[in-house]
Amino acid sequence: MSRYLDDLRRELAEVGIGGRLRDRILAEAADHLAEGDVRSFGDPAELAREFADDLATVRSRRATLRSLAALAAAAAVFAPAFLLAATAGRTGDIFSAEWPPLGVLAVLGLVACPQLSFAAGLLALLRLARRRRERRLAAQDVALLLRRTRIALAFGGGTLASAALYALEYRAELDPWYVLAIPAAAAAAGACLAAAGIATRRAAGVKSSVPGEAGDVFDDLPIALPRRPWLLFALAAATAAAPALVAGGVTNEGPRNAAAELVFVAAGFLALGKRLGLRR
């Protein structure tokens, strides 16, 4: 019996099940085997896989939901940081930072990171919703869901760091409340993102063996679109560029801002398209 329990312990560790759950499984197995027969208990590797297949689905769903909640907190910091900057005294000169390269970095981060975080978070949410009725997600599905979630969290963290950096770098022209409140709120929301990141990492540690293809974004959409990733890119680029054009004014900064959005979307699509499951 002790040999079987050792094997089971090793197999559980192999599929990423540890801590209290592993102890509970082993205690239940030990109690069972004290009355039953080791031979009829089943293959330890198969049993460990059974646990892992369930757990990978449950943990990846929970981690994604937790991450989306943390990202909502990050958005609640980003929105006032972005919208209230002018009210708090910012003039708009990008080179008026304490150290201009850091100021430019903060501005670029405030433009790019939230968009990438939103896109990755939306894709994670779509996948979560699309697979909500499935008892067990395929291993590839779990991997894609968690990849999208991690990317959303990473850029969410980038957004908060940019917001804090922006407040600090342009502090000379910003109201004191902004300089104090935005970095503090960013730190609090950052803690939520870090906690969600830990949950996501923990979920990724459980190895599912459920077969199946993850597919791509076309499998997530509630409507059937032609499977042409570049068409999707064109739609996303237009969706991002149009508001930039209108907000900046067609005869003023609009065309420049829209062109910058197109470049951002193209860069994001090229750099992260495969990882986010936008193209295969």
Binding site: A27, E28, A29, D31, H32, G36, S40, L47, E50, F51
Partner: protein
């Protein structure tokens, strides 16, 4: 009976085994064997992933007890578990009647 055939129905069978009385994993396996006239023979360990799954879904609850100096996890049906069992029983009856009608 092949374990693969049973696996699709394992959750409902475990719920049914817990319907009248709480039990630990080994006792659940024994009940399934007894009530199926020893036809249901699946790897005994597979009942535990099912129990953990049912507990996560809120259909059973469990607690540690002591038995012969060992720790023992005893499971009992919750109200939601009773309702789920009733639904699955109804689904099974409908399904089995339909299969019977086709195969007979």
């Amino acid at each position: 009976m092949k374990a693969e055939v049973l696996k699709g129905h394992l959750d409902a069978l475990v719920l049914a085994a817990l319907e009248h009385e709480p039990a630990h994993g080994y006792a659940i396996i024994q009940r399934l064997r007894r009530r199926s006239d020893d036809i249901f023979r699946l790897p005994e360990g597979t009942v535990y992933p099912a129990l953990h799954r049912l507990e996560r879904d809120g259909l059973v609850k469990s607690r540690w007890t002591a038995a012969s100096g060992r720790r023992r996890r005893v499971y009992r049906l919750t109200r939601a578990g009773e309702e789920a069992l009733a639904v699955r029983r109804l689904e099974w009856r409908t399904f089995s009647r339909a299969v019977e009608a086709v195969l007979a």
